[in-house]
């Protein structure tokens, strides 16, 4: 059937509702509709009659939000880093319970499969059982954990780990940090300090794909505090629709590099924008 302005508006309204139901933040859903409309401007009435024209305009809008041109391969980045004598350091951050510690275990497993040596820093020195949880993961993965005690300075534990990696010629360091709410100014300052003291090569934000609009607020505050370089969204196996990926990519202007699809070490997949858009809008 021919697309007219009237039923185009209806389709765009439906698109917005679909995005909202798939946990895309309100502001980002509105932005996607706005970009889609702009993409359609100047389209010939004849071309409008092709259903693909509207589908493509929507896909282009979503790809724009996802910053697909900034997508990078973490393994390649580490292997091809200019200064091989310096370990590649990664700081992992996010709010409470999003899957940071488990995701680090998955990344260690991935690095080992790709012959990248790694040491991990137990910089969550606050939460009960945090050091034991990480320690048990690292034992299972036969990987060295650098830790101090509970209430030790997180920045100093990270510093020790990077020092250790440098001395032992280990390729990479991953720093686990404690979950923190973005409303807690002290904890934001603590995170800034870990970054300032250790200058990690990559700061990865871990977002829970089951979270709704709040993921936009989380990403924005963390981004303003320490600049996020990449993000990973977790728990996509929980029937989550993944809209969080759009919200995070929109506000950070950085790519989603992996998705967590379960609690096992293999449950980490590279983020594929094309596959993602197909799932999101069918």
């Amino acid at each position: 059937t021919t697309l007219t302005e009237k039923n185009t508006n209806k389709i765009l309204k439906d698109l917005e509702l679909t995005l909202l139901k798939n946990d895309v933040a309100v502001h980002v859903a509105e932005k996607i509709v706005e970009i889609t409309q702009k993409n359609l401007e100047g389209t010939q009435v004849g071309a409008f009659s092709k259903k693909n024209t509207l589908q493509n305009a929507i896909k282009e809008a979503i790809f724009e939000i996802l910053n697909v041109e900034n997508q990078f391969n973490l393994i390649e980045t580490i292997k091809n880093r200019p200064n091989k004598n310096k370990p590649y350091s990664i700081m992992v951050l996010g709010v409470n319970g999003t899957g940071k510690t488990t995701t680090i275990a998955k990344i260690v497993h991935l690095f080992k499969k790709n012959n990248i040596s790694v040491v991990v820093a137990a910089s969550d020195t606050f939460r009960a059982g945090a050091i034991e949880q990480l320690s048990k993961h690292m034992d299972a993965l036969n990987t060295r954990l650098i830790k101090q005690s509970y209430n030790a300075d997180p920045a100093s534990v990270a510093y020790d780990a990077i020092d250790h990696a440098f001395a032992k010629k280990i390729n990479s360091v991953i720093i686990d940090t404690s979950g923190r709410q973005v409303t807690n100014k002290n904890l934001l300052e603590e995170l800034k300090k870990i970054k300032r003291v250790n200058q990690p090569d990559l700061s990865i934000f871990i977002g829970d794909s089951l979270a709704g609009n709040d993921v936009l607020v989380q990403a924005e505050v963390f981004n303003n505090a320490i600049q996020i370089d990449a993000s990973i969204i977790t728990k996509l196996d929980a029937d989550s629709k993944g809209g969080a990926a759009l919200s995070i990519a929109y506000i950070t202007k950085k790519p989603i590099i992996y998705i967590g699809v379960g609690q096992g070490y293999d449950d980490l997949l590279p983020f594929d924008p094309k596959w993602f858009v197909d799932i999101l809008i069918g």
Binding site: K21, A211, G212
Partner: protein, 295 residues
């Protein structure tokens, strides 16, 4: 947050020169946006908006009542509906042993909340025993043990045992065998799980049958979005969810998703978590909460 946007909405309603179809539509647009931003389920936002519209434009309204105040009253009622109505019944009584079972999605805050509940009831004079049946998460028992030790509460766990049902049975035996040391309240922590993990959902059902708790509590993360309703429903259909605790409301999340899931699952919200420490637990009262929201 939701409180602020609803507060500003109430002021707008009160300042309306008149309550006609256009001003009602403008109010409803703003309300929908506020609820959506707070993660209230999309279908519920539309339903609330339609209900208010229907009742507000009903011609049979007594013209003596100020229309503006009437709209505010309708808004108040619809929000109470979202939250699932009146206060939670008190199922934990002194005098005989009570058992509470905590369930919920991975990372929602169960283990932390077990510590908070132990602290809450210990202060009320209960003798508490805590059981860890999480056989999946590395360090789960360490986490629970450290929290319980910090408030001198007895705990039981079997870190090397892979069968959660076995641990539950042994744990209950452990806390019911000693006469003078009898625990008034036993709190059972479980592994995180979600509705797509059918075996884990079945394990949870079996755990409830073995433990026979006085109350099964569903712990919901305050940041939960549109999936909150479906997940809460799956839990409520698998176990007898008696009440809900919403966590992490000290953060930036407005909690609309969790709140509407609670309402939809039919279980009342008993407590909310407002921080990581053992004291960061508050009792929840729907009408008081809405009253505060609406100023």
């Amino acid at each position: 947050n939701l409180g602020k946007s609803l507060d500003s909405l109430i002021r707008k309603i009160r300042r309306l020169p008149e309550v006609d179809k256009d001003s009602i539509n403008a109010i409803l647009q703003e309300l929908q946006r506020a609820l959506l931003l707070a993660d209230v389920n999309v279908e519920m936002c539309l339903a609330v908006s339609n209900n208010i519209k229907k009742r507000a434009t009903d011609e049979k309204i007594n013209l003596k009542i100020d229309r503006r105040e009437f709209i505010i009253k309708i808004l108040h009622d619809e929000l109470i509906n979202i939250l699932g109505g009146e206060d939670a019944p008190k199922r934990i009584k002194t005098g005989k042993q009570s058992i509470i079972l905590l369930v919920g999605i991975q990372g929602s805050g169960k283990t932390t909340t077990v510590g908070k509940l132990a602290n809450f009831y210990k202060k009320k004079g209960f003798k508490i025993g805590v059981i860890c049946t999480d056989t999946w998460r590395p360090g789960a028992y360490d986490q629970l043990a450290q929290t319980c030790d910090s408030i001198s509460v007895n705990h039981f766990g079997m870190p090397d045992e892979k069968n959660a049902l076995k641990i539950a049975k042994k744990g209950l035996k452990h806390f019911t065998k000693t006469g003078k040391d009898q625990k008034d309240l036993i709190i059972v922590d479980t592994a995180g799980r979600h509705k797509k993990e059918t075996e884990l959902m079945q394990e949870m059902k079996k755990l409830e049958n073995i433990i026979k708790p006085n109350e099964t509590i569903l712990v919901i993360d305050g940041t939960l979005g549109q999936q909150a309703y479906a997940q809460a429903l799956a839990f409520a259909q698998t176990t007898h969810v008696g009440s809900i605790i919403i966590t992490k409301l000290d953060g930036s999340a407005k909690g609309g998703g969790a709140l509407s899931a609670a309402g939809a699952s039919g279980a009342p919200i008993k407590f909310i978590g407002v921080g990581e420490r053992v004291d960061d637990l508050e009792e929840f009262h729907a009408s008081k909460f809405i009253g505060t929201l609406l100023g």
